[in-house]
Subunit: 461 residues, 2 copies
Amino acid sequence: MSAGWFRRRFLPGGLLPAPGTPRPRASPVPYRRPRFLRGSGSGPGTADASRRPDARPVRSPARGRSLPWNAGYAEIINAEKSEFNEDQAACGKLCIRRCEFGAEEDQEWVTLCPEEFLMGHYWALFDGHGGPAAAILAANTLHSCLRRQLEAVVEGMVATQPPMHLSGRCICPSDPQFVEEKGIRAEDLVIGALESAFQECDEVIGRELEASGQVGGCTALVAVSLQGKLYVANAGDSRAILVRRDEVRPLSSEFTPETERQRIQQLAFVYPELLAGEFTRLEFPRRLKGDDLGQKVLFRDHHMTGWSYKCVEKSDLKYPLIHGQGRQARLLGTLAVSRGLGDHQLRVLDTDIQLKPFLLSVPQVTVLDVDQLELQEEDVVVMATDGLWDVLSNEQVARLVRSFLPGNREDPHRFSELAQMLIHSTQGKDDSLTGERQVSYDDVSVFVIPLHSQGQGSSGH
Amino acid sequence: MSAGWFRRRFLPGGLLPAPGTPRPRASPVPYRRPRFLRGSGSGPGTADASRRPDARPVRSPARGRSLPWNAGYAEIINAEKSEFNEDQAACGKLCIRRCEFGAEEDQEWVTLCPEEFLMGHYWALFDGHGGPAAAILAANTLHSCLRRQLEAVVEGMVATQPPMHLSGRCICPSDPQFVEEKGIRAEDLVIGALESAFQECDEVIGRELEASGQVGGCTALVAVSLQGKLYVANAGDSRAILVRRDEVRPLSSEFTPETERQRIQQLAFVYPELLAGEFTRLEFPRRLKGDDLGQKVLFRDHHMTGWSYKCVEKSDLKYPLIHGQGRQARLLGTLAVSRGLGDHQLRVLDTDIQLKPFLLSVPQVTVLDVDQLELQEEDVVVMATDGLWDVLSNEQVARLVRSFLPGNREDPHRFSELAQMLIHSTQGKDDSLTGERQVSYDDVSVFVIPLHSQGQGSSGH
């Protein structure tokens, strides 16, 4: 966990529109020292791995703390790959003001009393690469972008059905029918707002990094609880899952050079100049060499999900656009993810070949209709960066959740303890629970979000 | 059913590689007059709707017959939208020779005795538009393309794991490991062959239509039973489903301007010249008009799955790239499908704007592991053109299948009867079975494929 992380404020209401706006009643902000931090000096803004008596040279559960917010519990661990933690997080209440529409020129924001806010909850994990700069910017910025995007469409969100025109004036009598036939629902506006917010945040990061001479990028996984639904937006290789007594449901999918192979190859097919003659667009089981020339080898191009054979030509010996498999797959030999924020300056080492054209900042959004679930008190969403999922499967995480929560019903901090325990189990501890010793050498961040508090009433408006 | 349809031969073994090659024993080729054809003159090559006493002016079940083949049963009906049926079909045994590899220059085909063929089954439905020419060409060509593509990789298909090099010579000692790590299986070669065959067939159709001064395109839905698996390749809006006693499983998904909106909008974003300034790439709930100028209206662009609002500009008033919803959605105001074969010459009426750049000939392929199913005698795959699915849901078709087959166990022609009955029920007959009167005004083609005969042994090699 970086200094930047501690410096950011995670007060409930921290995502409110502007100073001076009436805020909803703030929840208490308890600080609890995480159990695995045995050092004595860890307080907000002061945590430092060097003080920790149990620091280890390669990886250590340095600087972890529970996030002081009552609707989600996070643990973050720095694997000390970099001086500052490349994992960053943010969470808070999301208060969306309603815009009163009049004539275009005299539209003004009307501050309503707190009860009339559209109120939601926001959790976000950012896994940085090339330094923590982009992740820190994203953690400080994305929620504001999202609030702005939501406020721009909130009028449509609170209507039974989004109106064709935002002012509500029907120009054509069958406008509502057109909207209905297209099946456009309020949740589509939230999805659209999330998509736009990620793109806006990406632009902000590009400008800010350039202005400050910094570099880097990050993945982004966001959960938003709003109007009885949980929206999970993902750009990168973090993951969110729903864990219930009898169900484990993925709420996101990963975007890596491997999972987005066809999109990336297609782009290189359309714009071959992006490869500057240095890479081959085709996929082979391994990098080809001189001996392969003239042989028929397995290959895949952008239009293929299956495999075929081709006769190897000289141009096939170039370095592959996507190389390696699984966790080792790299885009242009450089990057392990294909969506995220930042990376505007990222180039292949010692070349002018840019990665940004191949990266998407737009997330995939899934919607969980929380109000339709018959919620149990121990239904949770687990969000985590790839450091967790590299060593624990969805099912293993679900087993840990189910083995921990029922025995700790009286503990008011049990969701926070669970997040800690999940991180513990990536550090080669608690292997009695997972059955084998699994160790993550990456930064790890985990949110555990109890769904019971997210149902109707708590997140409606 | 067109004259072209009757002229084509559907003899078992009709898809064999070449005359003179030893053929597997042919199954008998019974001709059965379909029950709903009350006319007397319908024999192969002679069916003519004008002779039918029950012909109706708008649509009529003209010229239908059961496909004379024992591993799948088809019914085709001409809605008389056009003089010739735009629906075409093909089926037969697929015999794949093995290529013996020596030095590149002296490779030669070795004719093996029939038992050493890799033997499969092939069924295909083609739904033409702009005339039957493309569909007829596809029905006459695609199986040859597929056989050629399969023969080019058959050595890899029959190996435990496809070799990195088709000659089988490992150049790098860890070649098998690379193939294994990529998870490349024999079935990926069949998928690749299907993808390549569709593209090859598309090129053949383009050349043939141009040479003969004809036009048109068609969708293509193909099922191939091979080595204990059923491959379903789909490019267009036909559909295949698996119906079992307690399961209905879609084996394909439809490709229309609506389902492929993002791909199509993305292409127009990359190549705006494809729209020649005449169309807008953006999607709106309805076509915009002058009154909408300056208003904020619902819209979607290529990167969005959700919706947002934008201020209407003049360029937004152009005709939308994709317009209408559901069955009415049209690409460039012209075409209701976004994948298929042909259409090389198709242009927007009175313009030079081509549709072909937006169309994909490559199919989506799904694989059903038939050997892993505990097959019941009444498990079938139903393949049909959109004429059927426009009026019957998957579940309605499954109900019809389940209500028909068990009561007709002794009837050797029951699968053929079932295909007829399914077509009947799109003609407003048998509404006692579907519960309501549903009528299709489109051509309708149906294959019913009993899976029991497709398991191991019958389709292995």
